[in-house]
Point group: C2
Chain length 425, copies 2
Amino acid sequence: MNERPKVVIVGAGFGGLWATKTLARSSVEVILIDRNNYHTFFPLLYQVAAAELEPVDIAYPVRTTLRKLSNVRFIMAEVNKVDLVAQVVETDGSAIAYDYLILAMGSRVHFFGVPGVDEFAYPLRTLEQAITLRNHILSCFEQASCAADANHRRRLLTFVIVGGGPTGVEFAGALAELVYGSFMEDYPTLNTQDVRIVLLEAIGTVLSNLPERLQHYTLTRLHEKHIEVRLKAQVTRVTYKTVQLNDGEIIPAETVIWTAGVCGDPLAQIWGLPVTRTGQVRVKPTLQVEGHPEVYVIGDLASVAENNHPLPMVAPVAIQQGMLAARNIIRQINTQALHAFDYKDMGTMAVIGRNAAVANLLSRWSFTGFPAWLLWLGVHLLRLIGFRNRLVVLINWAWDYLFYERVVRLILPRKRKPVSKGILQ
Amino acid sequence: MNERPKVVIVGAGFGGLWATKTLARSSVEVILIDRNNYHTFFPLLYQVAAAELEPVDIAYPVRTTLRKLSNVRFIMAEVNKVDLVAQVVETDGSAIAYDYLILAMGSRVHFFGVPGVDEFAYPLRTLEQAITLRNHILSCFEQASCAADANHRRRLLTFVIVGGGPTGVEFAGALAELVYGSFMEDYPTLNTQDVRIVLLEAIGTVLSNLPERLQHYTLTRLHEKHIEVRLKAQVTRVTYKTVQLNDGEIIPAETVIWTAGVCGDPLAQIWGLPVTRTGQVRVKPTLQVEGHPEVYVIGDLASVAENNHPLPMVAPVAIQQGMLAARNIIRQINTQALHAFDYKDMGTMAVIGRNAAVANLLSRWSFTGFPAWLLWLGVHLLRLIGFRNRLVVLINWAWDYLFYERVVRLILPRKRKPVSKGILQ
């Protein structure tokens, strides 16, 4: 009865979800697998970590987006192994056979082997990590409000962000807005002078893929927001209480956020796929794996071979690759010629705070300040509509974001780590 | 400089928070301690467990409610011990000396020593427990959607609620609304006939403190909602896969929700306070502990000695006791006569679902159906305003509740338990 080719898609991020949508109502059967039952709107993840948005604001249940697509089935499971020979995906639940496979498992944070980072630094790549970081930051303020020792208090209120890429810059800006906004009114015993936000970047500039004018603007704005930007600063070690730099300086801090490196999901290599130095899977311009024409790799996990310089690990690349992989599978089934991937780069944006952003469109037009911020807001709201699909939710979201209305900053789940002792009089 | 008497309040539930508010702007210094940085609106907790409301809808940060109260300080800490002789509260952070103490740590779920309950059943007394239960229920649907074996699928979709009090009845009703609402459209491979909701009650009726007419109405409505109500059914054992009853019946179920028993926080007894059989602290009508006129106990933790029958463990009792304890402390400082607690019982309400509720006002007027539901909604919305304090949030809340709009049903944090194996074709 079931004669339709079966396409299994691993990962419900931007790439996997757009591939699924492109295959909806086509002549194939689609099975989408993800370890979570929700899609995360990654571009706003840093705002959850900075307690500016609630997790529900940027997560959307996969099943609800697929509700009307009768040829699509969702399975919440952890993928343990892909058997490329037997053409089977093994999960912690069922094993799933495939005719075509799209791997879209995305990327992981990369620590470059710096001692202590794995143990003490906070990554910021998943919604669970963002919530863990948020709980930790809020707990630091709670502990600081009772800390009798001034050095201990300052260490609790020092936040070191490693990496001057978009995530590092945006998170630093969001954290500054939290700290220097109405939040501190909740802590009458604390002083904003005790708070220190440090942004470390190993090379000589931030947002290195943007034009110089935008980099300068960004540095100026970060400075205005009391963020200490340290260029050419490399981290050599992280401990429970400190960050150590290559020039010998030691910054006392109980919070280190690591946004400096990203690599492809290491499972790809374990499963025997050909990977680059950064763990991305080498694919042909058609997004197929050499020797496995039935296997496509897209998004952060893919390294397109024909390209001279690597594509950025951003949502638009994943979305366009997801759509192309889906269409190439249909072409393959119909024995048509496959298309090569050709990235349509609409531009790059980063937001440093309300009314402050940088945007570079079509590598040609640069914007800064309020116009760039409006553009950023517009693009992100439009993208979110696709998920939430209801005007009322959009209004809610905008309201929350503009007026800090619904964000309630729960420390949930509660951290069990004991705080330091002392007598309070 | 600091000559004002120091009042320490342990617990930021209804009792502790109202005691704090009553002491605000008075001549004492107040320190409020809670293990969480938020207050939980307990009467709607079951709706979070049933994925009808988001955690943020019923939690509110303690610091924000106290923002304008200059004589109040909040400390987020776990209280390890109260030293009644030295008059010191020892926490996992600082130790805090007090002149007056109000204990408002509330109640815990009581398992009556039934084997397996502690290990396998889900309690429903805190926000973290509600989220754990919600994640488990949603995970059961995810697993059931891939379960090849029909018995396994039915066991995953059988939800046994133990206890026919307000929490059990309200949760059963909310779960039925979830299951028989639009939620199941997300699971095209599942059938509502596979879902079983069982409500077990040890005695011969549900909501035993309400008039008989309301009990009958409740039973009829639960039946209409396809909830199997089993009266005079006692649980003798819970295992990973079953609930065993005193008549020998074994119900296969992977989800058991225990709402049957409640006792005072066991710490009170450990600290040497005089407790009843249910772990509540015996207090004088003034809410003071015998022999310790500087120590007050309120809310679920208090057992008022002069009363012939115990007061219900509900928010109005805690609120009224919190206000009285606060006023008695002021009277004590001014060497005035203390007042005895006299509960003003406005009535009891329980909701079985949208448009279906029971209410008994001033032990005199009984309502059922839509009028009772409207009354319930009005009272709870009014109470929530006190916390949220902004009309827009109230509107959001009402909108969410009425139209299921913002509830996104994330399984977050994700459960790590492996699911059963099988081959999916």
